[in-house]
Symmetry: C2
Subunit: 559 residues, 2 copies
């Protein structure tokens, strides 16, 4: 097994800002943003490895994720984004091998998941937000480096006899390209499968015309006209964008966050950890004031606009639990607040959907809810008196593996009786990775129930009504509530975490498959398997032996 | 790691016949066949475990696969099949735990793959062949037992306060239901995901009305009317079948097979193993006489009808390589023969498609080709002078991860120049697990090429034409052929077998996903991962500790 070096390290912080970046710079020229990768060798998140050749670790990707998010909110006028390298002969060498070889299994898996989510967000920016990405590949784009380029809508490659794209993972490292690459080459770029096979075993990769012919890149460009061609392509893409000219962006200010041994709290989200029970109690507070009347008034609130602020806090809390609290197997989700106020925000999100800022807020919620779906912890929603499972916040109950609702009053809780209220936002704004809404996925076997549920918009559903409609798993009255919940949590905590991860990954995403579900379901599961196998992760395996000059030793059994 | 006990055992033989069955009986009553499971406790394939409570090992499933195949060919008049238990209180307890805990990782994975293929064949029988399955569940159907029932089109459960369906794998064994169960409950039966979650953690399972309400079974039936209701349902399903009345079946006689240390040979298929190179050279011989003129004449040839005989031999050879030659990482596929004769069979398969026997032969080829696709070995097709990659046999080249074709003559080979010839059979008869033809999958990025390929039906394509059309990966002339092939095989043999398995599983099935690809791609990969993890397979893991009275020890990290 890999050494457990990384667990002793300080918690990973997902918050950053351009003024703290060590590896990326953002340069804006009119409608084009240039995202330049110049990874600082000594800037690794943990000790023990150097980030040579623009290779990356989680810290590099946290900056990238931050940059892509800020470009959307802070720069409404940016319509095309060019990802390029700030180094001479290399675009990006992919994930750092020494980092991988010294990482725990959990870190490797979480690292891959986060980088995949970042690349999906890049793809989504072009598809839904009018901010379209170009990968301008000069130098070699190897492994994760090429996978980063694959997230872009248009891949350009310098035609200079050395710039190339490659997947050297299988021949060199005995693992897979783990950031969606195998799926994207055959499913997004539709590379012929036998060529994809050849390409994925070719250490040195492919360059020049052949890379275009094999559909691996969209164009090759002579070095002499590289810069102007990149800019011309970016302007062409920008011209097709519907992002506004001259709008003012919203600055994403640092989150107000306090972390103690067993809590993490923000103004609108709090987490309390029960280490004995291996449970994180996560509570989202609904808004305390009504929504502003217009998109312009919302924009004036900046990043304190409730849905934006709550989504950012929730996202950070989930990432913290994923990376820094790996022994906490269950996340119990609660909400608190006034459903009518929450629904006033949904009304604005719906009526002003075409406004650029409101669109970004909706899309952020979509991404954050997907992040919750993809979190490999048991998710349990508890719907109690005083809760606020209304509209957008009700989606949290539908992300859960199971939910329970209090029927009537609850001793020691003076809040109004628990209800669920649906809003138009539950019927299309937040599709899951499978492309369906959570309600459509939930009622795959009885689509007419989705219609019945839609007819309840505007009605507060009590426990009986919610259960009748199939929106909750269990309802209990005051007499049983505490015992039933305690038993449910204790039982779950007794099961094997691995089996639960596999089980939940298979039950959460019924229905159609998409590139995203393939990446998170199929590709990730294979990579996880390979990451455990001695051929890759063992002391004589390829990850450990890489760079030592000693050949790895392989178990030759084909499984 | 699990003990490697099973590798020392004799090779697994996939050939059997009803007169040798130890665990199943087939009883035919008019249009209904009853498949009764009465597993012999001492009848395990390997020593070291007893098959109690109708639990199964690979040997039990080999009989089931044989029975389902024979019902289709030998009993054209059987229109409904009832799977039932011959034991009192148990329907089927699923895969035998002691067998699993003493098995190698490779055996567990191959065992699950084969049982999945058998269940898919059961599903396919109802969908395409008019032989529709009912699971008549009396007693408990646990884990793989319930998964067997899930393959049926209609699940009946005795309403007797003890008969139940359950997935106890996660709570009891720290593994997943590995035979498609998680996928089938949410995707086929469309059980609500939170109920699926509850069900999959409930050791004792669910019975009675609740099982119907949760969509886990189709009906519950009082014990008093059990037998007549089962028969009535079978007759109802039979009435909707298009299988013929009064037709004569085709007896599947034993394959003429000779196995030596490094060869396995049949009349139409031969395998030679190069242990040093870890390569199996598999050659299929085309027919030596023209096809019979009519379906009736084909029927008169019985199981010696060339396409039927060749498919059975190929299937057996692939299964042999999978289970008994795990260190052989590459299968090099060749054909030999007269393309015109092969195409005469395709013409009959196409013109007589509506005949029940011809339909079964086509469906058998479909299943066998899918078995090839799903074989976790590198598949390389070599198209040489004298080869017979025509129509149905050309599909073998399209199953391959890559192919190479000789351009012109080849020293030491006096056969006619290599060609590929397409027939109508390449355009719909043999869909892959993803529901597309191999050519449609190959040309996902350029669908017009499929149209161009179809226009070549009737033309023998030489190496240049085949390459131009994208039907082969490489072409080499005599000067380069031997070296290029040697280098390709040596290079492939040097890679990690695990990484290749994962890579190939991700590249072979681009395009849409189906329940089958979910089962083989997503669910299997997760199960493989879990099968490696100490929580399940370790010395203190749940599989090892099961039945010992000692609780397993779990690593609590959630990954």
């Amino acid at each position: 097994m890999a050494a457990e070096t990384l667990t002793a390290n300080p918690p990973v912080d997902f918050q950053t800002a351009p003024e703290h970046y060590r590896h990326w710079t953002i340069d804006i020229e009119g409608p084009i943003a240039f995202l330049t990768m110049r990874v600082k060798e000594s800037g690794g998140l943990f000790p023990g490895y150097e980030l040579k050749l623009n290779s990356y670790d989680l810290g590099v990707d946290i900056e990238l994720a931050d940059a892509t998010q800020r470009l959307r909110f802070e720069h409404p006028g940016v319509k095309a984004v060019v990802i390029r390298s700030g180094q001479e002969r290399v675009f990006c060498a992919g994930a750092n091998i020494r980092m991988l070889s010294q990482s725990t299994h959990a870190h490797k898996v979480n690292f891959c998941k986060f980088t995949n989510e970042t690349r999906n967000a890049i793809e989504e920016a072009g598809e839904t937000s009018g901010q379209r990405y170009i990968a301008a590949v000069s130098g070699s784009a190897a492994g994760g480096g090429y996978e980063l380029a694959l997230a872009a809508e248009h891949i350009m490659l310098v035609d200079d006899r050395s710039s190339s794209v490659s997947f050297p993972e299988t021949p060199l490292l005995a693992v897979l390209p783990g950031t969606g690459g195998l799926t994207r080459i055959v499913d997004k770029r539709k590379v012929r499968r036998d060529r994809a096979d050849v390409f994925s075993t070719l250490e040195e990769g492919i360059r020049g015309r052949r890379a275009v012919e094999w559909r691996l890149v969209d164009e090759v460009v002579p070095k002499s006209s590289w810069n102007e061609t990149v800019k011309a392509r970016a302007l062409e893409l920008a011209a097709r964008s519907d992002r506004p000219d001259g709008a003012t962006g919203v600055r994403l200010t640092p989150l107000a966050r306090t972390i103690t041994e067993n809590t993490i709290s923000y103004p609108r989200v709090s987490v309390t950890i029960d280490r004995g029970g291996r449970v994180a109690n996560l509570t989202v507070l609904g808004p305390t004031t009504p929504a502003p009347a217009t998109a312009a008034a919302a924009l004036a609130q900046g990043d304190q606009f409730w849905p934006l602020a709550a989504a950012r806090e929730l996202d950070d809390a989930i990432l913290h639990l994923r990376l820094n609290e790996t022994e906490i197997g269950q996340i119990v989700i609660r909400t608190e607040g006034n459903p009518a106020l929450a629904l006033s925000y949904d009304a604005l999100l719906e009526s002003a959907a075409s406004d650029w800022f409101i669109r970004e807020v909706r899309l952020l919620w979509k991404r954050v809810l997907k992040r919750v779906d993809l979190t490999s912890r048991t998710l349990i929603a508890l719907i109690e008196p005083g809760s606020c499972f209304a509209g957008t916040l009700a989606e949290l109950a539908f992300t859960a593996d199971r939910s329970a609702m209090v029927d009537g009053a609850l001793s020691g809780n003076a809040g109004p009786a628990a209800t669920i209220q649906l809003s138009p936002m539950n019927f299309g704004a937040y599709p899951m990775s499978n492309g369906l809404t959570r309600l459509a996925t939930r009622f795959l076997g009885e689509p007419e129930t989705v219609t019945r549920a839609r007819a309840t918009i505007g009605t507060a559903l009590d426990a009986k009504a919610a259960a009748e409609l199939g929106l909750v798993t269990f309802t209990y009255d005051d007499t049983d509530w505490l015992d039933e919940i305690r038993i449910m949590l204790e039982e779950r905590a007794s099961f094997s975490p691995d089996a639960l991860t596999g089980m939940e990954a298979n039950l959460r995403f019924a229905g159609p498959e998409t590139m995203e579900t393939k990446i998170f379901g199929r590709l990730t599961a294979w990579q996880n398997w390979i990451f455990q196998r001695p051929n890759a992760a063992g002391d004589d395996g390829a990850l450990k032996r890489y760079g030592s000059g000693i050949q790895p030793t392989f178990d030759r059994k084909r499984v």
